[in-house]
Every structure is written in structure tokens, then in C-alpha cells.
Symmetry: C2
Subunit: 418 residues, 2 copies
């Protein structure tokens, strides 16, 4: 904790793919890199000892020892129990220190605001879900600010050092700039949401960033994980629209954004050339087959009604079954196309539609499983996980992005500490 005082809430729009033309650096940079490596190793494999780290990071015991000591002093790590020994001095387990810092994550969705405060290891300290009908960005920002202030004041959060805030938004983000280009379901366009939020949250320190909701979710699902970490992961968010986010790279997870922030807009990949008109103006988009609004359209459910709540009691109606089956089949095609285009190590399926369960999901998973191995002829299955309750997934993912931007990025929060 540097004595010079508080860190300014220096906004950092999003985890850019690259900070500099090419990475180069001085001794300080090297030191920081090694501290990051230590922190990252412990983050992935809680309970590592200094000796383990030295082996895995290819550093000497001396270097690791010094690095761990500073990370302990800074409150990033804590020492745990002694490990079992097998004929030697037992090592001391190291863990992330979940007691000193707090990460804030929020999601602005079509149906409301979701907020979480969590620890370094992704443990949620407090969360809040506020229903809200779509309104202006300004009103939304003011409300979100108020709710976040409440969260900051809550018992489990107060007193912790804030590392920053991540905001997940339902639309593509401009690359390199903290601008939400479009949120069709909110009726927003070109919104600098963080700028709107800042006046209401002058006390929230640390790194601020915003990202697309599916991308944040994907990031969180990969990042807040320990043990065997997949090389890449795609999160498919099936709600009012359908989008996806991909994270790649085991040692510095990167989110694929694309030139215009459109990467992952799989809802507008065409599955049926010449098919139904989509709200985007094209025909045959995936969203015309599988999405909240296509299901509403097929079943004549008004926007005011909650789609899931309306459908759950009616799952046995034949029209509902047929509609969901068709949507599920399209979802299966979407998943398969994702598999052949990106081939992620893991697919996570979330969004409000997953609550509809079997009638929608069974056809999708069946199609995917039946066809995913056609090409190679193997029997290897891509892990595909369905999250029934994905309420806080994106918000938590945005918090994960804050942490990653501090550990891996150019933030001062770590740098200044060492």
C-alpha cells in the first residue's frame, strides 16, 4: 500500500487486445511480470508452495521468495496450512487473500440491473438484482450508481480496497473506446456509459471498464476457475437476442472483439438464406429462429409479459413444444457452427432462455452431440455446460475483467505496490 494516498479512479475502457506496438520493458517491468506470474499461478492453483511456483514459473527460489513476500505484504496473497511432506520440510500453501480487496461488477440488461461485489477468487460477497424496464442511459446510470453505493456500504464490502468496476452491456462495444455502439433491446446507441456513471460514483476507486455482456460472461467463466483451465471458452447468451463471447489463451486470456466489436454476434449469422426477416433487416438470421423475440413472435406473447414465467406453466402445450423444438434445433446448428468456426475447448450456455429447460435444450444438445465429431471421426466431446441461473454471470465476469486488467495490464495498482 503506497503511502502517497488513494489511487485515482483512472478509467480503462476495456481489456484491449494489445497495449503497445510490441512489448518491451525495463527491470521494473520484469519484476512486475514475475509478480504477475506468481499471482496468476496461485490464482489458478490455490495451495501452491513457493517451491511449486519456482518450478512452474522457471524462477529461482530466491526470486519467488521475494515476490511472494511482497505479495503477502500487499495483501494479495495469504499463507495457508502446511502441506503434507514426503521426506522433507513441508511447504506452506499459498492462496489468494480474499479479505482485503473487492471487485465490482454490474450488468445492464433488458430486464434489469445486476450487481455483484466479489473477492479476488471470484467469491461473491454481495449481489443485487434490480428489475427495471428499459429507460434512458442517464436514468439507468443514476440508478446503477445508487445501487452500487449501497453495495459499497454493505457489511461485507465496507473497508475493502476497491480494485475497480466492470460493467457488462447488451451490445457491441467499440474497439479501443469505452463506447456502447448499439443496444437494440434497450434502444441505445453510441453511449459512453462509464462517463454517465462516473458522477454518481466518485468514491469508487480503481480500474473502470465496460464490455459486452456475453464477452464478460465468457471471461468470468474462464478466469474465475481453478485447476484445469480450458484453453478457450465460448459463452453463448440466449435471451432476448443471442450473442456469444470467446476467450482464448491460457496464460493471458484475451477476448475476441473484432474490428467493430461485432465478434460474437452469432445471432445475426445466417442459418436460413432467404428466410424470415430479422429486425436487422437481413433475412434468415439465427435470431429469427432462436431468441426471446422470435419465440414471442411465434407464440404471440407480448413484450410486457415475462417470457420465461409465461412459458414455464405451458411447456406441455403442443404449440409451445413445437416452437421450442424448432428454436432448439436452430440453437443446435448455431452451436455446431461455433464448433467448426472457433472450436472452443468449452462451451457454456447461459441466458434467460436456458430456464426453459429440456424442451428447448434437448434438441440443441442432441444435434450438437450427433454432429460434432463428423469431421474427425473421433469420440471426443466438447464440454458443454448449461447454466440454468445465469443472473449474475455477466456481472461477475465484468468483475473478473477488472482483476485481469490489473494483474496483466498496465494498471498501477499492482505496479505501485511492489
Amino acid at each position: 500500500m503506497p503511502a502517497q494516498g488513494t489511487h485515482s479512479a483512472r478509467p480503462c475502457h476495456s481489456m484491449s487486445t494489445s497495449f503497445q506496438p510490441h512489448k518491451a520493458g525495463d527491470l521494473h517491468f520484469l519484476k512486475r511480470l514475475n509478480r504477475s506470474a506468481i499471482l496468476e499461478l496461485v490464482r489458478r492453483t490455490p495451495g501452491l508452495t513457493r517451491a511449486d511456483i519456482a518450478t512452474q514459473a522457471q524462477l529461482t527460489k530466491a526470486t519467488v521468495g521475494a515476490g511472494v513476500q511482497s505479495l503477502l505484504q500487499q495483501g494479495w496473497l495469504r499463507e495457508g496450512e502446511l502441506q503434507k511432506s514426503s521426506g522433507g520440510r513441508p511447504g506452506r500453501a499459498l492462496h489468494l487473500n480474499d479479505d482485503n480487496h473487492v471487485l465490482f461488477g454490474a450488468e445492464v440488461g433488458v430486464h434489469g440491473l445486476r450487481l455483484v461485489a466479489c473477492t479476488l477468487s471470484g467469491q461473491v460477497l454481495v449481489s443485487h438484482h434490480e428489475h427495471l424496464v428499459p429507460t434512458t442511459p442517464e436514468v439507468t446510470a443514476e440508478l446503477l450508481g445508487e445501487l452500487l453505493r449501497t453495495l459499497m456500504a454493505s457489511r461485507h464490502v465496507a473497508g475493502r480496497q476497491s480494485l475497480g468496476l466492470g460493467v457488462a452491456l447488451p451490445g457491441p462495444i467499440a474497439p479501443g473506446k469505452p463506447v456502447l455502439r448499439l443496444a437494440p433491446n434497450l434502444g441505445w446507441r453510441d453511449i459512453r456509459f462509464l462517463d454517465l456513471l462516473r458522477p454518481h460514483l466518485t468514491l469508487l476507486e480503481g480500474t473502470w471498464l465496460m464490455d459486452n455482456e456475453a464477452k464478460s460472461a465468457a471471461f468470468g467463466e474462464l478466469y474465475f476457475r481453478t485447476g484445469q483451465i480450458p484453453e478457450s471458452l465460448v459463452y453463448v447468451s440466449a435471451g432476448t437476442g443471442i450473442g456469444s463471447g470467446m476467450v482464448e489463451g491460457s496464460h493471458l486470456p484475451l477476448v475476441t472483439r473484432g474490428m467493430q466489436g461485432l465478434a460474437g454476434e452469432i445471432g445475426h449469422t445466417v442459418l436460413q438464406p432467404g428466410g424470415l426477416y430479422c429486425h436487422c433487416g437481413n433475412r434468415g438470421c439465427a435470431e429469427t429462429l432462436v431468441s426471446g423475440w422470435s419465440i414471442r413472435a411465434a407464440l404471440g406473447i407480448a413484450e410486457e409479459e415475462d417470457l420465461v414465467a409465461t412459458l414455464l406453466p405451458r411447456l406441455n402445450d403442443s404449440d409451445v413444444q413445437v416452437t421450442l423444438r424448432r428454436a432448439g434445433e436452430a440453437l443446435g446448428v448455431l452451436l455446431l457452427n461455433l464448433h467448426h468456426a472457433q472450436n472452443p475447448s468449452e462451451i457454456v450456455l447461459g441466458g434467460s432462455l436456458t430456464q426453459l429447460g429440456e424442451p428447448l435444450l434437448e434438441p440443441a444438445l442432441a444435434y450438437f452431440k450427433a454432429n460434432q465429431n463428423r469431421l474427425l471421426g473421433t469420440s471426443q466431446q466438447v464440454p458443454l455446460r448449461v447454466i440454468e441461473d445465469s443472473t449474475f454471470v455477466a456481472a461477475r465476469g465484468a468483475a473478473a475483467q477488472v482483476l485481469a486488467s490489473i494483474i496483466h495490464g498496465p494498471s498501477d495498482l499492482l505496479q505501485a505496490s511492489f
Copy 2:
């Protein structure tokens, strides 16, 4: 050039996404990183001065000076002309030194072998195209070895230090292992092609690697470029089958491979659920609509005939026009789906089918242009370039991968030099 003698041809299967759990290192590592950065900057912007490099890489003049000196001595860089000054001592331009090294690239295609030898900046010194009907991996390897030996002995190549060989193959590569999992059009499966090649090329030093043809091509198109370098690039290879490769990341270009090496197999994304049967067993794959074999099937052209040569004189036949128009429309959908799923900064279209020209391409480009801005409503066009003669693109790309693996990777070729 280290005095201790020749470098062993230590095979390195492919540019892995990550070499280590997390990057850490010592002073040597830092030095190497900075040398890489210098080399990379000059590679991108030929003619930079030491002062420019210091500014861009955030290094001091002293460090850059020392680094440049060693790179000059090693033959990686050369000094050029004095730059124009504006009221001060003029800087000396730096360029890649194209005179000392050579990179070998090869492509094993359905219709033959393509070989190139090129310089650090991607300039082709010699190339060779050998027609060959598909045969066994062993025979192919032997022939390729012989041809490469001829290339090595050629006037412009002899005497240069070999940095290695990259081989592009028409199928998915296993991740982390130098194994061609499948090449349907060659009838190959699980081939360790480099192992077959090695006995015939004991004299070819440096890094050996292999990769998928479209991925190599994508890499080369991004890497052997100067000036404004796109953040990401997708190469679509339209030939007998249809595949793609994506490269991302401006400061260390990475190829998306996927868990099973399937990333980019867009020929098997489904564009028409319930459509025609594909050779993979599924229905409605893109390849059933746009690919060499789907066009052959539609027009009844035997495998023995050269597709492009057969069609070129018949482009005005109505059945040919209709077939190519349909294929082109499907290609347009494929490009649009790529745009919405990955949103690359640039798309390059190559492969033998591009030689068919307008009748195929016009519908594809028209569809793509008409729909690429539906979502955002902007008028920004994704740069889309068609390569008419893509004969050596993949081979040259494989050579580029060799260079990149040496500059950015853990190779000794740079490390030992400093």
C-alpha cells in the same frame, strides 16, 4: 552467428498459443524480449531510426542502441540511408537485412506441391510449383524433400543461413502436436508429416513446423506486411473444400486453432439445415453449396479434370452461370457469418476458385457488402481482398510462421545470438 557451430534442426511443431503456464523470466529473457521488440518494430515499419524505436518501444536510447548494434552484427538488421532532418542530426534508417537468412515454406495441396524460399521481409527468392496427384504421405514427403534440396541449392538461396521450414497442409492439425489429423482430399489421416520429411532433409537447419493451409496463409498475409497492420485477419481458402484461418493480435500474432484444430472449418458450418448431404455425413454444410466438389457435382465434372481450366472457357454457359451464382451466394453468406462471428479487421479470399472470377465472386461480394452494416448501421466497409493467384500464399505464410516462431517464440536462434 555463434561460433559453436550449426544449430540442430530442432522441430517445433507449430506456434503454440502459450508456451508456459505464465510468462516469467530473468534478465536474459528481458534482453531477448527487447531485442524482439526492436526487430518487430523495424519489421513493421522499415526505415525506423534508433530514436524512433526508443520512443515507440518505451526504451531508452542506450538500450536501443545496444540492441540494434547486436542485431546488426548478427545480420538481422542493416543500416540504410540517413533520414531527412528537421533541425538536428539526422537519424539512420534501419531495415531488415534480407541478405543473410532464408526461410523455407511449402504447401502440400490436393493438386501438387508449392515451395518457396524467402527473406526476412517475405520477399520470395525462389519458388516452385510441382503438379502431383494425391499419393501416400511417404511418397509426398520424399518428393518434397527432393524439391526442397533443389531449392536450397539454387543460386539465390545457397550460402544463406536457414531459419527453418514451415509446411502447410490441407487439413486440421492436432493442437500441441505436429500431427495432421485429417486431410480428406488427400485421403490422409493422423500423419506426422515432419517426421516423414526429416530423413530427406537432414541438412535443412532451423525451426520446423507445420500448420493448416488456411491458417498459414492467414498468418503470412498479416505478418509479411508493413505499415498499417490490421488487428486481425481471416483468410478464406476456397478450393476443393473451403476453410479459413484467423490471426489476431497486433503485437504477437496468434492463430486461432481450437481445441481439436478445427477452428476455421467453416466449410462444415451449416447454412441450410436439412439440406444436401455433405461428405462429412451432416446435411447442409457450406461445402455442399460452395466448394470445388459441390461445383463438380452440380456440373458433372470428373475429378480428373482441372476444375478451373474446364470452367473458364464455359463461363458463359447458363448452367455454369447458375451454378456459380448459387455458390457465390453461399460464399457471401459464409463471409457474412464470419463477419458476425469473428469480425476480422480484414478478409482475404484465396484458393483456386477465386480464379473463376466475377461469376462466382460478384454475388458473394454483393451479398456481403449489402449486409455487413445492417447491425450497426454504419457505412464502414471491412476491407475484403481477393487474391486471384494464391498459388504460393500458404507456402509463404508457413515461412512467415517460421520467422515469427523465432522472433517471438522460445527458439534459440535469436537467443543464442545475443
